[in-house]
Each structure stands twice: as C-alpha cells, then as structure tokens.
C-alpha cells in the first residue's frame, strides 16, 4: 500500500502537523515531513481525530434489510468519521448465537468500510428469561465482549445479576437498556408537561433511573462492570455520578440527540422525533452535556436506528421509535459540546473514540495519533456550517430529526487501517 501524507492537520485540535501513513500504520507525526512517494492530502487546518467508534449502532441485518444493511450502515459510518461500530443484537434472527454474530462480523470485514463488532444478546431472543450462550459468542470469530438486550431492558434482577457475574469469566460487559417495563407500558414520550397536554402516554424518568440505581448496586455487589446505554435524564446522571464516587465500575453513554433535542419538538406530532428513551426536557439536556464534559458520562454513542419511510409517515402512536445518527453525530457534538466551550477536540476524541474503544475492547481502535499506531483516522472541517440534507445520506434510511437544521462541521476524510473510505466527503 502506498504512503499518504496528511499535511497541516490540527491533530486533536492542536497546532497543525503532518501525519504520514505507510500502509495500515501511522509512520510519523511531525512538522515538515517529506511527501516523497506519498499521496498528499492538504488538511489546511482541519482537525484530525482518531477514527470514531460507535458503541451503539443498529445495522438491521439480518432481517430488516429494508431499513439498513451492514453495507449501507458501514458506509454511513465511514461518512460520519467512524472506523468501528458495535452492532446491536436486536436483528431477525436475534444475535444470540455464535452463528449470527459471526455472520454480521464477516459482512463488515468483507465490505471494508468500517469494522463491525457485533454485540451479543444477553438473553435468548431478547426475552429476558434465559441467558444466551454468551461464552460461545465470545469464543466465536466475532470475539464478542459486549452483551445487550438493547431495545429491551434486562428487567429481571436475577437474570441481570447472573449476566453481570457470568461475563466476568472472559472480561465481558453487559450494556443495559434501562427501562422499567411496567412503568413504561404504552409509553409514547417523556412524561411531563408536554405529555400531559398532548395526551400521549408518559415514559417517566424514574423508569430509567430506578433500573440504573438497581444495576449499579448489583454491579457493586458482584464486583462486575456495567455499561448504561443512552442515558437520558438528569436523575440518571446523579445516580451514575454517585456510583462512580463509590468506586463502582460503571460506564455510561449519551446519544447526540439527547444532547440537543427536547420533548417540546413532540408538539409537532412528527414521528421523526419519536425515540426510545424519549427526548427529555431542557434541564435534562443541560445536565447530560455537563456530565459528558466532566466525565460522569464516558462516551457519545449514536443509537443509530434506521427505519423505512412508511414507519415514520404515519400517526405518532403507530410510528417506530428511533433516529439515524451516524452521519450527524460529530456535527451535533460540535454544536452542543465544542462550540459551547464544554469540550475541546481532545475531549471529543476521548468521548467518541478512545473511551468507547476501551469499553468495547476494540483493540485497534481508539488509539493515539502517533507513530506506530493503526492508521484509523478521520479529518473534520470544523469551520463548515450547513443544513442537513437527508437525501445525501449513505444510510438506507432517512429518519433524521435534523432535516433542514443548520449544524457545524463536516467529515471530509476517513481512513480505515490506512485505506481511505471517505475522500473529500465522498465514499470510496
């Protein structure tokens, strides 16, 4: 493979430097590096980050190829600056066996846009009753280390306890979708002032917080690590902060949409704003931003959830929950965290690459931008501002809440092990 010289890139937002890639590896980082024998990419002051890592993606294959496939989903990921995504288990069939996780893992490798690390289901069929063969999934070619019933909560306290304990044998982690099922029967949106007016079934914050409180205590009791998916409320932040202060081994993620949008948008009854957990209040949004800045929340994860048009072009109650997010995540993080002064670009690299790779044990990802490291990189034009046009998405689905919204930042290049997957904003 030939050499690539990225000239004048602000590495993690610092002073402009040159980065030389040789094959799959970063050969050198410094000033005035020779471009001999190298293809030159003029960065011109753009920010260079380690390739982003998404711990929470729905690729829909197998089973719902009408909304996304491993190919379209990984192209969307590359477009958004990602070099690794963790694919959630709620496919058809459910990724609860070694066979299914190996299939998904292999498809990602074959397409070559972005590494796909499958997440295994915690329980058979996501039904919360019986542990799936977690060990078999871990030992498969896919090497699963993250397990989640995402979309559903592992609500049975005993099953959750056993899962937390069991995965310790091979260093796995359970990622909990925290949603007390009885408190959220018929839930359509955040329970509060807006739901009271709109007459939509409420999804109370306590349904998330009570599960998180229980699970951090369980993790403490059995000495396990637990990860909390898409944390969405100010109260959840307080519980995680308390748990960390006690030394409990808990990590947490927040989605871009929960950093930007509030339940006021539901007044439009436009199902593009329907998502689970639901959009919360401004107070929650501000608490989540602060928690991401101070490290209480460890990472940003997209919960990229593609749905076909017909599943959103209907009345609110009939619509599917979820939003696509891979291609807008970095822009939303720039808007809510960087441009607000809460986080610098090194902080973004930490929350969107280093930490998610560490939690998910994606060893070749989330590495420093320095000599000898894998050349998984993304180049961002942070001066750009433009409105979101879903027609340009690489994802098969268009269910974005940001259509027409002006956002900053644009990923122009992505390299996966030295191979360009995105050049000048175009997929290779």
């Amino acid at each position: 493979m030939s050499k690539i010289l990225i000239r004048g890139a602000k590495v993690l937002g610092g002073e402009p430097q040159d980065v030389l890639i040789d094959g799959a590896v970063i050969e050198a980082v410094g000033s005035g590096l020779s471009d001999e024998g190298a293809e030159v990419v003029e960065a011109g002051g753009k920010v260079l980050l380690p390739g982003l890592v998404d711990l929470h993606t729905h690729l829909r294959e197998p089973g719902r190829e009408d909304s996304e496939t491993v190919l379209t989903g990984t192209r969307a990921a590359a477009s958004g600056g990602y070099t690794a995504v963790f694919a959630m288990a709620n496919t058809f069939p459910v990724a609860d066996t070694a066979g299914v996780v190996e299939q998904v893992w292999r498809l990602g490798r074959e397409h070559g846009y972005c590494d796909v690390q499958p997440i295994g289901a915690v329980t058979v069929g996501l039904e919360g009753k019986k542990l799936a063969e977690l060990g078999a999934m871990h030992e498969s070619a896919a090497g699963v280390t993250v397990f989640s019933d995402d979309g559903k909560c592992v609500d049975d306290a005993v099953i959750m306890r056993r899962a937390l304990e069991y995965v310790k044998a091979f260093g796995g982690v359970v990622a909990q979708h925290a949603q007390e099922p009885r408190l959220t029967e018929g839930a359509q949106m955040n329970e509060g002032i807006v739901s009271a007016e709109l007459g939509l079934g409420g999804w109370p914050a306590v349904a998330e917080e009570s599960i998180i409180a229980r699970d951090v205590l369980l993790a403490e009791h059995v000495g396990s690590r637990v990860h909390i998916c898409h944390l969405s409320t100010a109260g959840s932040v307080e519980i995680v902060r308390w748990a960390k202060s006690r030394g409990i081994d808990v990590t947490a993620e927040v989605t871009p949409h929960h950093l930007l949008l509030t339940d006021e948008l539901v007044r439009t009854y436009n199902p593009v704003y329907k998502v689970n957990p639901p959009l919360r209040t401004e107070r929650d949004v501000l608490a989540l931003r602060e928690a991401l800045a101070d490290g209480t929340i460890d990472i940003v994860a997209t919960d990229h959830a593609p749905h076909p048009h017909e599943d959103k072009d209907c009345e609110w109650a009939a619509a599917a929950m979820g939003m696509v997010g891979l291609e807008t995540a970095l822009s939303v993080v720039q808007e809510t965290m960087v441009d607000t002064g809460l986080l610098d670009w090194a902080g973004v690299a930490d929350r969107m690459s280093f930490k998610p790779a560490k939690i998910g044990q994606a060893r070749d990802h989330g590495r420093p931008v320095s000599a000898g490291e894998p050349a998984n990189l993304t180049l961002v034009d942070t001066a750009y501002r433009g409105s979101v046009d879903p027609a340009g998405f690489a994802s098969r689905s268009r269910n974005t809440p940001y259509e027409g919204r002006e956002l900053p930042g644009r990923v122009t290049h992505t390299w996966l092990r030295g191979k360009a997957t995105l050049v000048d904003g175009k997929l290779t």
Binding site: Q188, G199, L200, Y269, E310, D313, E315, W316, A317
Partner: protein, 343 residues
C-alpha cells in the same frame, strides 16, 4: 378561525364566542318544521371514524345533513384499514373522491393534527376526538350549554363565561374532554377546577390554566357547574383506584352532594354515563342535569363549526347577498346568519 379545528387551545376568545353565537342561530333551525339549510349543498363531508363512537358520529351526521352536505360515513372496522392500510392512504383515497372536509375520530393522540399538517390532503380537518388529547366540539357544546344555562339563551349572545366557576370531576388523565374543556373554558374566562384522585391527574398538570383538587366535597359549594367525566371500570384493574365502590363514595355525584351545590348550579356529563359509578340515577335524571340538552346542543355546535370552516356555497339561510364574500362569511357573523323569522 383557522382552516381546521384540531384543538380547543387553537381558538381565541372571539373565535369561540363566534362559534357559540352561530350555534344559537343554528339551534333555531332545529325549531323549524323543516330542519334543513342549503348551506353546504354540493359539498362532501366524510366522517372518518377509526374508533367506535355512535353518538359523536350521528351528531356530526345530523349536523352535516341539516346543512345539506353530502355525507360519507367511513368506519375503520371491516374496512381496508383493518387490512393494514395506513392513515395517509385512507385519507388520500377519500380525498381523491372529492371530499371537502374530514371529520376524524382516532384512537391515537395527534392523528388529526398529522392529517392536517403533513401535506397528505387539502381538505379541512375537524377533530372529533383523538386519543387522550382533544375533543374540541365537545368542549364547545359544553361551553354552549353552560352559557345558555348560566348566562341565558339571548342574554348570552356575544358573551363569554367570565367569572363562572366550573368543576370537572373524574378521570382527567385519560380524558380528551377534560383537556379540551380546560383550554376552552379558560379562554372564555371561566375558573376551572379539576377534581380527581391523584392517580387520575396527569404528571405535568401544574402548567394547565386551572386548579386541581383531590376533594370533591370542598369544591361543590363554589361551583356554578359540575361536569362529571365517565370513569371506566377497567381503570380499577390498573390500580388507579381500589374499587368501584370506593371511587363512587369519594368522587361520585349523588343527591346529597348535589344538594350542596348552589341552587342555580348545573350538572353536566359528556356521556355515556356510567350510572352508579360517577353519577347516581337520582342526579342523572334531575332537572339540573343537562346531559340530554348537551346532546341536542352538540348538533348545533357542529353545524356552526362546519359552516364557519367550510363557508358554504350559499349563506346559512335565505336572502343571499351578492356582495358577501366567502371570506367575510367565514370570518364574521354577517347578517347572512339572521333567520327569515327574525327579519
């Protein structure tokens, strides 16, 4: 007035008074030997009912027919909807047949709003009840009934409900009637108090323009009207209250409680009543209970709404003025409303 009627909260005080005044004109038609106006001749209205509601549907149908509209009744049961057709396709199919207005009842909150704002159809949309959100014509007919009884049929013209104290009792949480009434009665200047067990009051109610009480007895003496909401027995199974009997004892309206209301105060109910649950037969059958009047008033209100939204091809009654524009008829109570009897 707007093109659609989706929520009682969308109505200004003047819009609402105009509808009530227009409904009084419409009510006079009901007293004639021939209860029919040519106003909506040649126009087609579809009653698109995704939820069973015989009383609301026939009330709209009576109003449409008295205005000479062509009426299509579409019930979701046994139709293409039960075979999986979407709301969008159903609505577009109907519009392709040349429908001027859609009266929609739907189990999903917000369905009429989606229909009116998603660019699916051009027809006017009238919300006949959506989920636990709104039921604006019910609120209008309730306000109409209250104004007639508390202010007076003729004295009420042009008037709102300023200073009247109206208490709404029952399952507020699941009630589109309560939401619509809080919005409209507040707009009309009334002081509204909601009374319910705390389990049947929504979280977030604190921003509503009304008071909330958990104690019925303390509100009775200061109520000009007490509106009882239907309470479904099934709610008991979801632990909203322990038993029917306990609910009736604490929140039901019986003769003793009615006796503690001021002499002029009325008892309202949107129907259908669950006798023995939220209201006793003694109260339901008393002169102070307006439930039957409310049904009759519902037709007048729906005639007024249809007339004002669709602005008929001809004025509501005879003597069309060639200079009267569609817009002026739609937005102001022109002399075209006057009945021949008055002239």
């Amino acid at each position: 007035m707007q093109r659609h009627l989706i929520s009682a909260a969308d109505l200004t005080r003047d819009d609402a008074v105009l509808i009530l005044d227009t409904a009084e004109e419409m009510a006079r038609v009901a007293d004639r030997p021939i209860k029919k106006l040519p106003t909506l001749r040649g126009r087609t209205v579809v009653n698109l009912f995704f939820e069973d509601s015989t009383r609301t549907r026939i009330s709209f149908e009576a109003a449409e027919k008295r205005l000479s509209a062509d009426v299509i009744n579409f019930s979701a049961k046994g139709s293409s909807v039960s075979k999986g057709e979407s709301l969008k396709d159903t609505a577009q199919t109907l519009e392709a047949m040349g429908v001027d207005a859609v009266v929609i009842r739907h189990g999903a909150s917000g369905a009429p709003y989606r229909l009116a704002t998603s660019g699916w159809i051009d027809a006017a949309v009238i919300n006949a009840g959506d989920g636990t959100h709104q039921h604006p014509t019910q609120a209008l007919l309730d306000a109409f009934t209250a104004r007639r009884r508390l202010v007076g049929r003729d004295a009420g013209l042009g008037q709102d409900l300023s200073g009247r104290r109206i208490t709404i009792v029952g399952d507020v949480l699941h009630s589109r009637v309560a939401r619509s009434n809080v919005d409209l009665l507040h707009t009309l200047g009334a002081e509204v108090t909601l009374v319910a067990p705390p389990t049947l009051v929504p979280v977030g109610v604190e921003t509503w323009p009304c008071d909330v009480s958990y104690d019925l007895d303390s509100t009775l003496a200061k109520s000009d009207a007490v509106m009882m909401l239907r309470v479904q027995r099934e709610r008991m199974n979801a632990a909203f209250f322990p038993t029917e009997r306990e609910y009736s004892r604490r929140y039901g309206l019986d003769g003793d409680r009615m006796a503690r209301m001021p002499e002029h105060a009325i008892v309202m109910h949107p129907g259908p009543m669950v006798r023995g649950m939220e209201i006793t037969a003694e109260v339901a059958d008393s002169d102070r209970c307006t439930v039957v009047e409310q049904v009759a008033n519902g037709v007048s209100i729906r005639m007024a709404v249809l007339y004002l939204l669709l602005g008929g091809n001809e004025p509501a009654v005879a003597h069309p003025s060639p200079t009267t524009t569609l817009a002026s008829r739609r937005f102001a109570p022109t002399p075209a409303f006057r009945t021949t009897e008055e002239k």
